[in-house]
Structure formats: C-alpha cells, structure tokens
Amino acid sequence: MNPTLLKKCSSRFREGHGFSRAVNSPAFNSALAAAVSPTGSNICNDDAEPKNCALAARLAAKSHRITIEKRTSAAKAVPVWNVLTARLKSCPSLNRQLSLVALVMLAVTAAPSQTKQKTRIATSQIEATAPIAIRGGKLLTITHGVIENGVVVMENGKITAIGPAGTTIPRGATVVDATGMTVYPGLIDSETNLGLVEVEADQNSNDLNEPSDEIMPHMHVADAFHSETQRIPVVRVNGITNAIVAPGTTNSLPGQDIFIQLDGKDRDQMIVVNDIALPLNFSAEQRRRAMPGQGGGGAAGTTRFPSTRMGLAAQLRQAFIDAQDYEAKQQSAANRKSDSSNNRSGGGADRQKRDLKLEALLPYLHGQKPVVIGARDGYDLENAMRLAREFNLKVVLNHVTHAQDILDEIGSWKVPVIVGPIYDFPRADERYDAVYSLPAELYKRGVKIAFASYHVEHNRNLPYAAGYAVAFGLPYEEALKAVTINPAEIWGVADKLGSLDVGKTANVVIANGDPLDVKTDVKQVFIEGRKISLENRQTRLRDQYGGVPPAPSR
C-alpha cells in the first residue's frame, strides 16, 4: 500500500465530499486503507477519479457496516455526505460518537426486528408542483379506456383531473399541447439492474452479486443503488418511470429488491419502496458446479455445495427453518425478559444475539411481502412452489420461460407472473415462438402478467417486449396493462401508479405514437408532476458531435 496514494485518495474524498466528522475516525482510516488496496488492486491509482476514491470509502464504510447516504441537492455546489444510519448489531471498532449515532438511530426506529425495513411511500414526500395541463392528446387511461382529444391535469405531484376536451383547466396552469400525440401513464418495469451496474465489464461499477454465499437475504439493493447512474436518464426517456431493481441472480436468495421512480433529487427520493420483495432463484445458475456452459457461480474448476437441485432446495429449506427457529427463540427470550423485568431480577442474561440474515427472512415468512421465485422450467418451478407452500410464502413468479408443460397448473396457483425475457431461446426442437407466445398463453389461463426488461443494457426496451407479445397473441390492452396497472398491483402500489386516474402520482408520458412500437419517439415525461429533462449522456454525445444532419432533399 502506497501511503501517499492513500492520503491523496482519502483527502480528495473527504475534501471533495465534505465528509462528516463521524466517519473521520482511525477505524475508518484503516478500513479505507484496506479498501483502497485490499489485494493490491488499483481501485485508487495515481489517476484515480474522485468517484473511485468515493468507491473505496464506501467499501470501507461497508466493511464497517455503515450505510453512507449521499444527501445532495442538484443545486448545491458542494455535496454533503452524512452518516445517516448505522445498522446492524454492534460496531465495536467505531468510535463512540458513531456508536451513539447508531444507538439513536436504533432507538428512533423503535424496533421489533422486522420494523427495520426502510419503507417509504412515494407520496409522503411528493413535492409541490405547479399545475400542468396536457391537452389534445389521445389518452390511454388503462383503467377506463381511451379518451381521444383528452385533458390531463397535474398539480402537486398528482393527477388532479382527467377527461375529454372541455375538462376544466385550472387558471395559471402551464398548458402542453399534445395534439396528435399519445398520452399514457409512466411504464413500470418489473425487474431491472438500474443503479447496480454502470459498465458491466468494469467490476468497480458492478454491484450485482455478492457471491460468497447463496443465502443472502440481508443484502439490501438500497445499499448499492447508485441513483446518479447515467443509465436512468437514458431509460426514462423511453417512458419508463418506475422499476424494480433486483440484485443479480448468482445466489438463490441474493438480497432484497427496491422499487424506484426514475427521477428524484437524491437516492431517498428515488426509492419509493425499500426492501419491497425477496428474489428466490431456483435454476442452473445458482448451482455451484463448475461446468462449462452452466453459468455456475462457483469459481472455475471448483464445485461446492449446493451443486444440485437437491442441494439448493435443502439449503433454502434450512434457511427458512433457521429463521423460524430464530424467531421463536427471540420471542421466548423476549417473554422471559419481560417476566424477569417484572420480577426486577436478572435481566439481560437471556438476551439473544441478533442474526440479521435470519431476521431478514421474517417478513417474508409472515407473508407480509412477496417472494419473487425465479425459475425457468416447469420442474424447477414446481420445486420452488413446493417450498413456498411449505412456508406459506406470498409468491410472485418470475421467468417461467420454459414451463409450457405446466401452464394450467401455473394458472391454478393464482399467483402473478413476471414473464420473460420472452427472448429466451426455445429448446431445440421446440417451435420458434414457444417463448414469445407465453404471455398470451398465461393470460388465457387467467394469470396476471407483467413484463420486465431485466438486463441493464435492455432496460429502455421494456415496451417492445410487450409489443412483441402482442404479435404472438396477447391482446393489445393486456400488453399495455402488463407494463402499467398489473405491475402496480403486483408490487402493491396501484393506489399511486399504473393508470391515468385522479389522485394517482403524476407519472405521465407523451409520445408521438403507440407506446409499445419501436418507431415511437417519446416527447415528454413527467414524474411526480415534474417535467423531466429529455437530455442524457447519449443526447449530449449526439449533440456534441453535431447531431443528426438533415436528410438530403430528394
């Protein structure tokens, strides 16, 4: 480790970001040193960007189980960093000041174990916005049909009126002429990696997987979500205003998802619901066998448990049983404690050590939040569902791309399905459209479906998957629902999102045509009633190099 380098990095980071005193501790310094050069890697080299230093510091903070949150307003020249929360059981290596902060935070969250989920409902912090009326467009309301030449009014972040031409527009409202345009609610993507990966091949910008163990329910996507990612402004100008962000799929329980809106002045404003769901993956990828083509998570040349489906299932079952057991013990310890404090004797002797991993599973074991089962084949789905029934989990299915043999059975389960990617390949000797037609087949069986774009390079293309499913038999209205109201219902936010209805969050898109067609150009996006800039890294590059020259006249 080069001490000059560490100093440079450390000071650059602290000065550049106005680090709070709490983190300026010897313990933090040593953690930073470790993060800067843990294995001789060059996270911070001589040319280190400030962002790399920031990354190193974050790593250091993470190693001390601190969540550092960037509290920055776009308007302010100097972003301010704060330690907002210090989570987890104990922080012996941190200074007292920090421990105090942690204690205060714990006290504030006043907590039986599962209340530590940082849940926030979007509308609780919606900002006041001036009235805007969109008039003249074709409104796709989703819940009550199409209104030609309609009017939508937004104010204070919400839709305040919707109706045909002649609907009252409040005085002083900014009027947007949408004649010839199509107006629809912001689309909702039911699985993305937004903010977890910038350039996938660059490990420094990739926070998708924590592969050290398969059972990682205590990983919180919120802790890695990089709200300033360059990808979000690119994706939202395609009309996508909300998304699930899920971790990568290397693990069977990789961590908890967040539900975001694709605009906000900081991370907190963009996370609409924290820890909204827990993915449970049951496919080849989670098996730790080192076989070429298997995509196994094991290091090359090694095989470790679980290397089979038996192993995966047993490991998951054990995790859920451990969590139940843990809860029972916590409960009885709490009871004893309450007894002993009544007796004013002993006390504390029976205190249970908290186990954050098991604790993270409890809301899911209580059926309070959905477990998103990711499996492709029928038999894998059945295995995972058996497990889910055993523990009374609330289920959302994901993928299901090769479960054509059990479609009726899936229908009978009465659970929603995030279907796709519909671009998954059919098996050899299957008809070419075996996967394309899956949304239609599930819909026919009464399954509520939603679409997802999954991989970060394809997030902006969410609407086209829905469109393509129409080519293979899904009714158009259902395809639209599957990227609006259906996901809103699946994720429990239908009171706020998913349609053009009075009282809902004003996430509204104006485009020059059908939202699901590849040719359609999005002209304006509103999120919480705010007009979103259409500029992004890609438009800037386009314009920097002269833009698109006019077509030659013919």
Partner: protein, 456 residues
C-alpha cells in the same frame, strides 16, 4: 466532401468488383429439378431500391426475381401465393453472426489466426438458424470471434435450413476475414500475461503480422517471377497458411471485417490499411462511428452496428442510438447486424428503431438490414433487394416489418419456401426432423461481444 466521398466510393466499388470472387464453390449450384414459377400477389411490396408497390406482385422464375410490379399475370403452371394485406420484402441479411459454429467461435490460442476457416466449424443443424429463418433471415456471414487481432476466415450461408451443409453455402460468395481490436484481444491475452495486453500491443501484433505477410508475399512474387522467366533453379519458399491468408488480405482477395468500437481505432485501422495497401470493408459494432463518420465515409468503409445496445463495457460507453443515422447522413454505408443468437430473430425491429432515432426513411431503414449488409458481405449484386435478376430471397410479413408487431409468415430462398408459419409443428418445409443442435455461447442469452467472461 459529399462529392469527394462519392468518387472515392465509386473507385472503391470498382476495385472490389475486380476482386476474384471465390471460395465457396459449393454443390448447391447443381441444377435441381426445375422449379415451377411462383407468383406472390397482391401485397405491399417493399423493394428497397425502387420504392413501395401497393397491391404489388413478385414473379419468381428459376429461383430468380423475374418481375416486380402490379398486374403481373401468372404464367401457365405457376404457383400463386396470395399476399393480400401482407408485406413482401427481401430476406433479411445478417452480416455479423456466430450462429451455427457450435461454440467454436474463437481460436483464442494466438492473437493472429488467419488460417482458421469458419467453414470447418459450421454446423448446419443449429436451432439458431431455424429461429433466424423464422425471423426472415435468408443470408448470414458467420464470423470468427473477436479474441484475436486477426481472427479467421468467414463463411457465408444461405439459410436453407434442412438442407445439407454444402447446400447451405452461399455459392461463390467472396471471402471475408475477421479482424478485431480494442478490449477483447487485450483482455484475452493480457489476462494470460501475453502480448497484447494494451492497445499498443494490439496494433503492434497486427502490424507485425502484416509485415511478415508483406515479406512472404514478396518472396513468393520473386519466386513466381523467376519461374515465369524459366529459372529452373528457383526454389519455392515454404508455404505458410497463416501468411498465405494474410498475403491474400494484402492482395485484396479477402474482405476485411473489423470488430472495432472506438473512434481512434477506426483511424488507426484505416491508417494501417493504407500503410499495407488493403481496404477495410466494414467496421463492425462501430459504436463511435458518429465521431469520425466523415473520415469513415471518405475511405469507403461501411459500418455494421446495433441501434441501441450500449455500455456493456468501457469501449461501448460512448454509444448513442443516433449513431446509425448520423453516420448514414455523413455518407457511410450502414448495416444493422445482430452479433447475437437473440437479436438475429428480430432485426426488423432494430430497423424500426432507426426511424425513431434520427428519422431514417423507411427505405433507409430497410436497406440497413438488406442491401447494405449484402454489400458488406460482397453479395449485393445477388441479394438484398427485390429487383429483376436477383435471387428470390424474400420474407413475407403479416404487418409492417418495421414495427413491434410483425411476424414472418413465409421465408423464401432462391424461390423456394423454407419456413411457413401456417404449417403445424415447426413450420419448416425442408427439415427432416433430425435432432437439432444447440450451439449456444456460454451464458447463451448474452452475445459474444458483451465482453463478459471469456471473450468470443
């Protein structure tokens, strides 16, 4: 500038047409039993080169387009295919694919492997070919991967899925060779602590190989000259397949297809081509072409790109979806290619995207998946548009192919139907229900250029 680039391009085209087309002499030209004429009638005909013909017809005779227009009468004995309400366009051509190579995409044991021939890896039963056929794809250029600065020689196929290996070869298609640059070679060899591990190393490896080829070519030229003069003492230099292939590059006998992302690397590659006296046929991926489009156009080099993939690795970080149309407007010949077993199935949608990003006309968008990739492969005189005398390679769609909603109803190659979605089962007309092979890449949903894991 525009005029200059035109002149350059014309000169270049003349040069290319003088190339000995070669290589793929297959048995597929053996005359089969004469086909009956086929009249496709009453559709919206997207000719690509001479507009859209509403209520149009295409007459096919002996596997070639015999007439395109309205009110074409069916000759006696002709089969008539009613295309009322349908869209009829040329078959889609993918000029960058690694399908049907059974994972033998990269001979990643040396950064210079020009003697490799993808024909040796071609597996004609790959289900991916079927999927592509069902997406209207009639011809493909199957390329070596991008692990090596100088990879192997490509194979051009007609997607007659169900026929034999030899019958699927595109007859007399020109030879192409794959070059690469940038992150993939330097990562593959750098990770083994070998040369190249930087872009400096990359280009040095390439320059060194070309220099050797130049000397090899000189030795052979000298020898041949001696033999010509009747010198009985002349001793033939040792034949070296690697240098022989590269000498063919220098002699202009191979179309050079270069995997290249960054603007500076386009310039280096074109500089090196000038230095050694060959031409670059196309830059593939070419995500930064918009930065130096005028220079690429002036050199007569085409690009084969994606409309909207981006950011999967550093050299793809400056991608922006207006690249295709910006480059086109600067005079570059632009093709959209798949480089993916997935995207090859819906290149029509990718063409729709360039209407959205940059306002390509319908004809320009269609050219990017038909005539322009045909030019990159060197077969634009044979396929890529609906013109009299061209091969009758045609796809018929139920809706506007440049939309999210279209699907292929029929794919026709050399006048014969190879895919018909109305048929029960797979919709294949020539497949004999043998087991299909499944030569997907490792991590099959990704494509080869994503730069993840072991490079392809």
């Amino acid at each position: 500038m525009a005029i200059l680039s035109w002149v350059t391009r014309l000169g270049f085209a003349a040069l290319i047409s003088a190339l000995p087309a070669s290589a793929q002499n297959s048995d597929s030209q053996a005359p089969a039993s004469p086909q009956p004429d086929l009249l496709i009638k009453g559709g919206t005909v997207l000719t690509v080169t001479h507009g859209v013909i509403e209520n149009g017809s295409v007459l096919i005779h002996n596997g070639k387009v015999a007439q395109v227009g309205t009110n074409i009468a069916a000759p006696a004995g002709a089969m008539v295919m009613d295309a009322t309400g349908k869209y009829v366009m040329p078959g889609i051509i993918d000029c960058h694919s690694h399908l049907a190579l059974d994972n033998d995409v990269n001979e990643a044991t040396s950064p210079v492997t020009p003697a490799m021939n993808m024909l040796d890896a071609f597996v004609n039963t790959d289900k991916g070919l079927y999927h592509a056929l069902a997406g209207g794809v009639t011809s493909l250029l199957l390329l070596h991967g991008s692990a090596n600065m100088i990879g192997g020689q490509a194979v051009v196929i007609k997607n007659k899925f169900g026929l034999s290996r030899d019958q699927m070869l595109f007859p007399n298609a020109p030879r192409s060779i794959k070059f690469a640059s940038g992150e993939n070679p330097k990562r593959v060899y750098g990770s083994r602590n070998q040369l190249p591990s930087t872009r400096m190393g990359n280009f040095e490896v390439q320059r060194e190989a070309l220099q050797q080829a130049k000397e090899y070519m000189r030795d052979w030229d000298e020898y041949n000259a001696k033999v010509q003069k009747g010198d009985k003492e002349a001793r033939a230099p040792k034949r070296d397949l690697k240098l022989e292939a590269l000498a063919d590059v220098l002699r202009g006998k191979l179309l050079v297809q270069i995997h290249c992302y960054r603007a500076d690397e386009f310039l280096t590659e074109m500089q090196m081509a000038r230095e050694f006296g060959y031409h670059v046929r196309a830059f593939h991926h070419a995500l930064e072409a918009y930065k130096v489009a005028d220079k690429i156009a002036a050199e007569g080099v085409a690009i084969a790109t994606w409309p909207d993939w981006w950011g999967f690795k550093d050299e793809a970080w400056d991608a922006q979806p207006w690249n295709a149309v910006m480059s086109l407007r600067h005079g570059v010949r632009v093709a959209l290619k798949s480089d993916s077993n997935d995207v090859v199935r819906r290149l029509n949608q990718d063409a729709g995207k360039v209407i959205r990003y940059g306002g390509a006309t319908q004809e320009e968008a269609l050219k990017m998946i038909t005539l322009n990739p045909a030019w990159i492969i060197g077969v634009d005189d044979r396929v890529g548009s609906l013109e009299v005398g061209k091969d009758a390679d045609i796809s018929i769609w139920d809706k506007d192919p440049l939309s999210s909603y279209a699907k292929v109803e029929k794919t026709i190659i050399d006048g014969e139907v190879y895919f018909d979605s109305s048929l029960p089962g797979l919709g294949l007309t020539h497949w004999k229900n043998a087991p299909m092979s499944s030569g997907e890449f490792e991590g099959s949903e990704m494509d080869d250029e994503m730069g993840i894991g072991e490079a392809h």
